[in-house]
Amino acid sequence: MSRSRKPRVLVLRAPGTNCERETAFAFASVGAEPVTQHVNALLAKPKTLDTVEGLVLPGGFSFGDDLGAGTVFGALLRTRLLPRIRRLVDRGGIVLGICNGFQVLVKTGLLPALDGTEEQSVALAANVSNRYEDRWVTLEATSDNAFFTRGDRLDCPVAHGEGRFLAQDAATLDLLDASGQLALRYVDPAGHLPARYPFNPNGSTRDVAGITDATGRVLGLMPHPERHQFPWQSPLFHAGLAPKAPDGLLPFKNAVRHLRRAFDLVGAKR
């Protein structure tokens, strides 16, 4: 029997996280029930993770990016919460890491989790420009997973200094490609690969902007879809060419649709 409630998503913040409000807002606007919590509160009561269907690590500078982006928050999750997060994924839940959240997921080993092992095997290195850069990019989904359907295209901003995706070796990269885990690529404005700078803003290998785990339910991406959730945010808005349904809501909508199906939830009327 279907339960009549919204999918619950835990928006987890750490010192220095700064995109939790807009990320929670995006989830709420597509029918989820976001709960924002400080990581210290979750550590005090880890069971909270068993009461939600989704975990989101929003963007920002957790622990100031000290020691490398995502290092400290990643270490905290890996040493204190990893089995519980694993369990959330195993029961059909989703994990989404945006920007700094992606960096954290990579450090924990939750992404890409090749062979189910949580040993870090890819990295997000300093941009080739060696600078933090803020610009809009175009992304294309290159595999099917809980967040996207192959061929989905979206425009949204990137804003980071450490987003150059690379794998520990060529074999890992090929394996990820073959298993469809290289989920999002930067493309040029015409939608073509390879995307040169600045369309690929950081020099990522194979133009990778986001990856999933093998289940497709854990996604990390450098760009910020939550920064394109209102039509007037599109750079095409003033030319009258902005899409009516803002691109950035796509992964949030798809995630909620997946959770409703997976947990047999009927969303409350919006």
Binding site: N40, G60, F61, G64, T79, R135, L166, Y197, F230, H238
Partner: protein, 1012 residues
Amino acid sequence: MPTRPPAAMKSAPKRRSVSAAKSARVRALRPRAGRRETPPRPPAPPPQVLRLDVSVRADLLDPAGRDARAALAQVGLPHLESLGAVRLRRVYFLEGLLDLDAQARAIQALTDRVLDVAAFGPPAPPPSGTVEVSVMRRSGVSDPEAETARGLLRSLGLAVTQVKTARVYRVETPASIEALGGAARRALGNDVIEEVLAGAPATYHFPHPLPVQAARLEVPLRALGDEALVALSRQMGLSLSLVEMRAVEAHFQRLKREPTEIELETVAQTWSEHCKHKTLAGAVTMTEGGVTRAFKNLLKETVFAATQRLAKPWCWSVFQDNAGVIDFDGRDGVCMKVETHNHPSAIEPYGGAGTGIGGVIRDILGTGLGARPVANTDVFCFGPPDLPDSEVPKGAMHPLRLLKGVVAGVRDYGNRMGIPTVNGAIVFDARYVGNPVVYAGCVGLIPKRYVKKAARPGDLIVAFGGRTGRDGIHGATFSSVELSAQSETVSSGAVQIGDAITEKKVLDVLLQARDQGWFHAVTDCGAGGFSSAVGEMGAEVGAEVDLAAAPLKYPGLKAFEIWISEAQERMVAAVPRAKWKRFAALCASEGVEAFVLGRFTRNHRLVVRHGKTLLADLTMEFLHEGLPKVSREACYAAPALEEPTVLVKPSYDGDLAALLRMPQIGSKEWVVRQYDHEVQSGAVVRPFMGAQQGPSDAAVLAPTLGSRRGLVLANGINPAYGDIDPYAMAFLAVDEALRNAVAVGADPARIAILDNFTWGSCSRPETLGTLVKAAEGCRDAALLYGTPFISGKDSLNNEFRTEDGRLIVVPATLLISALGVIADVRKTTTLEAKRAGDAIVLVGLTKDELGGGHWYRLKGVLGANVPQVTKDAPRTLKAVSLAVRKGLVNAAHDLSEGGLAVAAAEMAFAGDLGLTLELGALPVEGTLDDPRLLFSESPTRFLLEVPPEKAAALGVLLLKARVPHAVIGTVTAEPRLRIRGRLGEHDVLSSSTADLRQAWRSALPLPTEVPS
């Protein structure tokens, strides 16, 4: 646990000579430690110190090493032609006991498994031909990353007591160690805060200083004559004048006792130019053209008077709190503050600019009961970016190095705070060499019920946020004197290093506590530290503090240092006793340190103790009202200037390209892209717009998620006009700020403005005279436009004295910031041309007004005809605003630096389209030749792009408003800017927009493309 030095011994010497105290202070500045916990007492034998080297895998790109190589090349390292690769190592010195297993775990924690290689122990010596350069923060300079590393390692159960970080560069070069060291000191580190060591491997010995016992130190004053009083002020670094020292002396004569060191420091800080604005808020006698006029309070009778006369009901709070507050949507107000951080940025641009941003953010956090920051702005003034190295005076930094450091500081602080940096400007002028200007602004939203605040007697004085260290001792007084060739060595104590994450945590808890009603008042610790914050908050009631309660970054601080330290990221709140436990629990849950510093009283005194030792007891009345009022002399005489002779040429393509390449006009993309302007998801009009990313006139954001109500942020600054006429400059700065805001769709009836004056020393009557003229210009402009000032700040004494005694005084630099409120962010527009076939309408009259403008500057002349704002300006702004909001235009761009030609070029290349214009169609006053039509900087002018179907409606609107305007051309599909000459015989301009854009993008010698 806070560090708690023992209470002072009863036998503490009552009197020590001041010079002894001073030298003790100088000595005390050397050994500093980075330790947070109670120090070992007595000192244990030094624990083991291990060195951990981490570097990017040899087969991977090392962008930081590559950039270090470029930086060394830029400063002209000898044997440059054979400079090989440079690789960076991140080095950690760890103090503690780590066995092999613990070392492996430390490596796992501190390195990236995929990217890095790491090893403990003394590193293998570099191969021959490779020299190691180590850069390490000096002891006592904050090292937040080391603290994070220590925290992480300890949380993993590793016995690490202290951590220190260093950057070590391995440079392949045949240059000598000395030559490399010299180049590295300029390219890779800053002597003021960092030690740069070439050749030998870096080692580090952690200091273990002992707490200093608090002692009451009296400073004999009453017997001193004038000369001795002045000498004492200088010796103690008080920056108090003779008249002020005499007032202090008289006060203590009446009290029949000597002041204590802390009392003098408190008075000096409270009375500093930085805190009291003695000049702008003081009496001035102004002589101009043989006529004298007197002001009792210059600020109140100019800028503030205009606001009072305008009496806008939507101004909720002006000129009284940290920042002015205006109505946003009836429920929330919006507040804004702009500050300068010039002197700290001159000697340490990264820390100076970062803490400038951090400070102005705290101003917003400390407005009312706390506002939520939603946007940052930044405006900088530097010397020419292409200044030859040989012309950089000793003690000053190259303008480009300053720029890079300042931008990095703003980037790292603003981005980490999660506040979008959305608007700014950069001005270049040779007179900023040595004394750059760094403005940082912050905008916040605050619910109406939180606008008022007042500490109540009995409330606890609670300080929270960062710990107190020796950072920025005497920052308030340092900022009130001129810089010199020695500033970088004598003022290093005034340098602050920011720690944005600590401030972000403060922001997080402050807003939660505010919403719970857990405090009655809050303010930031800025210049003057606790002294200023407590003294201001307790001004109406009284306050008593115990400095022994303050947690310290490291032991060894003297009481007066704790009291006036400008350590960053600290706030002070008035917390009712009943709420303290909950407040403290909230802070603890988010990792923010909070402690009770004292309590507010009802005796109108400021009492400072350290444990049981009474260190200061002053009346609030003397502190806040005792400053002697001095009348200053000002004079003004208009400079004798001439217009140059202009030769008319057949083509101006070269002139336009040269204008676009001027750093002031050209692209600041290298700077702006490093700022996050999208965080909080409110950006609507961004710094660059259009398919080819041209420069926006103003920023538009929707700061409340889900609401279309918006803010418009813009600025106006052009010091060159002030060289001709500071009064006109003020009008022009206001006009520029307003027309920028209006160009995107702001309603001029709902714009508030802020003033920031950056001037030289106003002890010279002629310098004060230009300040008076500019202040009068601000007043008259505000009244003309009906636009109130809501907040402002001044920074005087912006001068640099070179080693040979030459004084470089900054030009009179007035920044006007505009803050507009709009009902619907969708009813805005952007600058880029959007559709071929649309008409281009020029709004506003073009006159022979090139004086102080950029085309003259290109020719190396100033000119005399400075642009003049006319009484029609408000009507023009209103009409253009209406046209934008009614959706009659597809694009709008204001005409400013470089006039019509530059504005048209930007509009065209931003949209990747062309424009074809006719100079003969321009609405003009008199008869102007082609170059004047192209490059005049007459104010209050706009280019509007109008679709054919709306042209008639726009024409009617502009006619009804009696605004001069004309259709001067069309948008074309061919991406070329074509402008036909006045007589219609030939094109005086015909350039491809690709060429124009290329010129615009190459203005700064900084890469906008990614290095290969």
